[in-house]
């Protein structure tokens, strides 16, 4: 347990709590960015440089901006008069607490089956590129098709449809 790990995880958890608990939706999006940045730092702390920088590019660079756009397009920053939480919010909180207690209990009870790898894995971006082009080339192609289809689908879904197009 290094101090860096404790600090980064505290930052990430604080960002996550703020992202789901704040009243103003724009503040929630900003707190979400903090949580994404904390997760990217955790990836870097785990010696996964490529995943960490991909996290920064994809989540902070794209997903957070997309969320802000959606909030502004739907005027979601106005706080509704009857509260920001759903009518049955205590049930949701109880379910989340139960899930966390089961997961935490399982993690703390379990003993590692395999010896833990203590030394830093020496993985370069070139190796990741090699793996993506050889062993994982089929998943890479499928994910390319999926991303294209999803983005075209998102554009079609969000497109403003004219009344009575003939």
């Amino acid at each position: 347990m290094s101090y860096a790990f404790l600090f980064i995880s505290a930052l990430t958890v604080a960002g996550g709590v703020a992202a789901v608990a704040l009243k103003n939706t724009v503040h929630c999006a900003l707190a979400l960015t903090v949580a994404f940045a904390g997760l990217a730092l955790l990836f870097l702390d785990l010696d996964a440089q490529f995943a960490g920088f991909a996290q920064i590019l994809v989540y902070i660079g794209a997903v957070a901006i997309l969320v802000v756009f959606a909030i502004l397009l739907t005027r979601g920053s106005e706080t509704p008069k009857d509260g920001v939480y759903s009518k049955r919010w205590p049930i949701g909180l109880v379910v989340a607490a139960a899930v966390f207690s089961v997961l935490g209990w399982a993690i703390l009870q379990s003993v590692p089956a395999l010896p833990q790898n203590a030394q830093t894995p020496a993985v370069t971006v070139a190796q990741i590129g090699q793996a993506l082009m050889t062993r994982y080339v089929l998943p890479l192609e499928i994910i390319a098709i999926l991303l294209t289809a999803a983005l075209i689908g998102a554009v079609i879904v969000a497109m403003h449809e004219k009344e009575e197009v003939k």
Partner: protein, 103 residues
């Protein structure tokens, strides 16, 4: 507590926070934010198991996390497009007010 257990606990906590957000908020965009947090917690688990697993040079967990990031980005785009369309149709993103299948 081993370092792996520390990362797994942080991931479980972020997952629970995202689940609480998805279950308690009224705004559909906030529910999507909760889902994104849950996906990120899963990615943290994958990377932690890759780092402390026996064969990190096989890159299995890393590849899983990278593909998961790509799928999560596609999910965010489609989800936010749906939210914008629902807002245009119902003039609200309040999920408690959406109780009809046919508008």
């Amino acid at each position: 507590m081993t370092p792996l257990a520390g990362y797994l606990l942080v991931a479980a906590l972020i997952f629970a926070i995202g689940l609480a957000g998805a279950l308690t908020r009224r705004n559909a965009i906030l529910v999507l934010i909760g889902i994104e947090l849950m996906l990120n917690a899963a990615n943290l688990n994958l990377i932690a198991f890759w780092r402390y697993g026996p064969h990190p040079e096989a890159l299995t967990g890393m590849m899983f996390a990278i593909f998961s990031i790509a799928v999560a980005a596609a999910e965010a785009a489609v989800g936010l497009g749906l939210v914008i369309q629902v807002h245009r149709h119902a003039h609200s993103t309040d999920l408690d007010a959406m109780n009809r299948m046919k508008g």
